[in-house]
Symmetry: C2
Amino acid sequence: MTEQRQDSHRRPTISDVAARAGVSKGAVSRTFNGGKGISPGTMARIRAAAAELSWTPSTAARAVRGGPAHAVGVVLRRPTELLELDPFFAAFLAGVESALTPVGYAAVLRFVADSHTERECYEQLAGERRVDGFLLTDLRHRDPRFEWLSRLGARVVVAGSPARTCPFPWVSTGSANLVRELTRHLIAQGHHTIAHVAGTPSLRHARRRRQLWEDTLVEAGLEPGPVVTGDFTTDGGARATRELLALDRASRPTAIFYANDLMAIAGLSVLAEYGVKVPDEMAVAGFDDISLASYVTPALTTVRCDYRRMGQIAAHTLLAQLRNEEVAPQLTIGGELRLRRSTGA
Amino acid sequence: MTEQRQDSHRRPTISDVAARAGVSKGAVSRTFNGGKGISPGTMARIRAAAAELSWTPSTAARAVRGGPAHAVGVVLRRPTELLELDPFFAAFLAGVESALTPVGYAAVLRFVADSHTERECYEQLAGERRVDGFLLTDLRHRDPRFEWLSRLGARVVVAGSPARTCPFPWVSTGSANLVRELTRHLIAQGHHTIAHVAGTPSLRHARRRRQLWEDTLVEAGLEPGPVVTGDFTTDGGARATRELLALDRASRPTAIFYANDLMAIAGLSVLAEYGVKVPDEMAVAGFDDISLASYVTPALTTVRCDYRRMGQIAAHTLLAQLRNEEVAPQLTIGGELRLRRSTGA
């Protein structure tokens, strides 16, 4: 990147920016260092003055002095296919950005293929001070990242519901009650054999949805129906549905709860192909409430989670941590059950 | 971010890494500076040695010396809703990452809400040397970014097909022929009134799809059918479909080409609601080939573009530019027409 040429003979300084915006140098500095105690209006004025003078705080110089990198790391280890139509990823990132942008922070994004590269990536981002902290998503069963990042002394906020001990603050969707409510809704519709098409078992949220479905059935005195693993993809959902339809009459379910909408919508297509009427012969429910869920026929009953808000709150919590403020160890977003035609609602 | 503690008494140096990997210091340096002339195997060995010794090149120090930031900027200005189920964004990013990761580059991602913030964002990322170059997506009609980035002297690669003069190398999907082919397929099926549900008009690819559809009809001696703008969202696609169904018999189409699959799938749902049989009473085609396109009923005819490959090639081209290598001014990815039941194929 070549440097921008200055029209004036000397480079603008922080004092020039302060003078132009009619504020103190401290206010300029705080605006570009997290924005604590500066009103949005004043920040906008200071940023405008800085832009007019082509003044930028030197991140590089700050990093060498040990100052903040003004960036937050998000390292994703998941197959591309799961990104392509994923309702979580983009909404979450957009929420993260909505918190970072006003204070001039960037998201540094890395995709990694395996555990080795993943660990290396965290060490590199932290070691080279490219980021000030991390947001963790896609929690795994016995997640090794908790230990790696604790060792690195990194500031971290977790998006998801960790199993037991989590050394970092975490933001959960609070969807546990909604999965229970959805399962109870299926029971109330008169279903006795309710199957589950599970997500990737190594992912914490996949295990959790399965467990909540199972617990609710057991609590209602019902035997949990068959479980097929569908890995969260459309192809996986279609395959799982075929497996369920191949079961003999006795064990064949009358309702299926899919761990996400993509699998449920693929399932609807397989059921149509086999001439199984939804919801009369088979009730179908998903999870996520992707925008297509209300545009398939019949419209899909599902659980709505506000992933954008989750990203926003996770990023705000991380920024507060970086300013050394006290943060709540756990926050819950909340969601909604969306009852539609696919379960006879 | 606190520093990682070293178990040994002195910090490891580049010489230690070179000795451990059995290579020259120059090879270590090149591995962490773009990887030119180093085989993937050797790079892997060097990275492993560096990881074992907890050695990282200091990006911060490099940036102050004027060295590369080892990062590529992607600035997106689009509503969150268009990210949530977008087949382009995540696949493209995953492709970008697949090119950046092996050479230790990160993607720095920013979302911006308006043109002012957008420009500021490019200036900040370039001015603070947080990135070495940019990838541009979502090309607009008369895109102002060409001028901004030329002025900044930035290294840029464009993903998309610019209208006329583009000062940067660009990677296109080469889907122009496929839109023509798709339109000709509809004509060959005997349709005379073929409607178009267009995407956001300010976006270059939306205008282009509409133009190609129109040109192909005119070339075949047909009057272009009605056009309704649907803004690329499911809600927009549903609304546009209702508008088309409200037309009087004479101007009502027998086929609809939607500018993306999301709108086409929402359209299928509206057609089902109105009792219009697809493909017998209305043929429907989309664009993107999202994973759900083959899992709706009837399966959706569409155009497949390999956005992952597009991201990979765009990033490779940018990296080559950063190494001051000659790059082709224009590259084409290629795609495929996917004929399915929704057009009677």
